[in-house]
């Protein structure tokens, strides 16, 4: 039996277009691909943190962080529906596509934001929950509402939101912040600009049409290419810091050094090849490589730590 009668809505037909979304449409609002990276980096932060956490509480922490990240994605799609509609990459998202109304996305995002923070606070600790709340605020209010449409530094500063998850994971275990988790933050923070600018070089017309002041739109492709190289040159040594500072092993250090050098080489390639389809190919190669780079770094950190831990326990 339906709790609400099929005809109990009293709004006119023309005024109301909601209520037709599938469960899958709502899932899409959570930006599942971004969520997978958040889960992975948060898990690495948790595993690397000293001490331990009950597996169930660890699961709840990851769940809370993942849902919080998904909620930020939903709120981002609510606010950005007008510009998402204008860009080929985002036009098929549920809100611009008309499958979910803006207010449905807003409600969904708000409910999940509050729930994720409350669950993390009650089940794990309030330090991690506060950081999750701040991350959601940072991504939605500071980045989406504040920076994205105003400055070409949007993803540089906004990148902090994507860099917080390993710190939240770490704090979920220890209840406090530490410089080791700040290094994990720094790796993602420095990775974000070259990652997004590589895509922005290819999609700059999209961003220009939507009026989003991405670096290639505002300062041109040449300046963006130079800055990609600069960030890649900074990222390569920062990637090795966990080994240098002693909280990761030699395997990680070697992998991070090699992949950092390849990242830099691909970035230099992007800076050198500036015309035609080859330029586009170089930018997309850097974009996809950057995703693999971050996954690989955190995977090696994670596996190395688990293997060393297992061997020490033997």
């Amino acid at each position: 039996m339906a709790l609400v009668d099929d005809r109990s809505m009293t709004m006119g037909r023309a005024e109301w277009t909601g209520g037709s979304a599938s469960v899958g449409d709502y899932f899409e609002l959570l930006k599942p691909r971004v969520m997978s990276l958040v889960i992975f980096t948060a898990l690495t932060g948790m595993v690397l943190a000293p001490g331990g956490v009950h597996p169930l509480l660890g699961f709840v922490a990851i769940l809370g962080i993942a849902v919080g990240a998904g909620a930020s994605g939903a709120l981002n799609m609510w606010y950005d529906a007008d510009i998402d509609r204008l860009m080929s990459r985002t036009a098929r998202r549920p809100v611009p596509d008309g499958r979910i109304t803006a207010s449905e996305a807003l409600q969904f995002g708000m409910v999940l934001s509050v729930l994720s923070v409350m669950v993390l606070g009650v089940a794990v600790n309030w330090a991690a929950a506060s950081m999750l709340a701040f991350t959601i605020f940072f991504y939605v209010v500071v980045y989406t509402m504040g920076l994205k449409r105003r400055t070409p530094q949007n993803i540089v500063i906004g990148g902090a939101a994507g860099a917080f998850p390993p710190m939240i994971g770490w704090t979920a275990v220890t209840g406090t912040l530490s410089w080791e988790s700040a290094i994990l933050f720094l790796i993602i923070f420095m990775w974000t600009p070259p990652h997004f600018w590589a895509l922005a070089l290819v999609k700059s017309e999209d961003y220009a049409r939507a009026g989003v002041p991405m670096m290639p739109v505002v300062q041109g492709a040449a300046s963006t290419r130079r800055q990609i190289v600069l960030y890649a040159a900074l990222l390569a040594p920062i990637g090795v810091l966990p080994t240098v500072l002693g909280f990761a092993g030699l395997t990680y250090g070697v992998v991070a050094a090699v992949l950092g050098a390849v990242f830099l080489a691909f970035s230099v390639q992007v800076a050198r090849v500036t015309e035609g389809p080859e330029a586009r190919k170089a930018a997309m190669r850097l974009f996809f490589f950057s995703i693999g780079y971050l996954f690989a770094l955190f995977a090696v950190l994670l596996v190395e730590h688990l293997v060393v831990g297992a061997l020490a326990g033997v």
Partner: protein, 52 residues
């Protein structure tokens, strides 16, 4: 309000609403189970520590 102004859901909309309702029900049931298990874990050995 006149009857013609009311919304009548199409069979497809009804199907999707049902799916959404089931998803919400499962989510809430999962949350209840999660809170139950978290409570047990947090109580730990103290669960037996009470006056008989």
């Amino acid at each position: 309000m006149a009857d013609r102004d009311l919304i009548e859901l199409t069979p497809e909309q009804k199907k999707r609403r049902r799916a959404r309702s089931i998803a919400i029900a499962l989510f809430l049931a999962g949350l209840v189970l999660l809170f139950y298990l978290v409570t047990i874990v947090k109580l730990g050995g103290n669960v037996a520590n009470r006056p008989l």
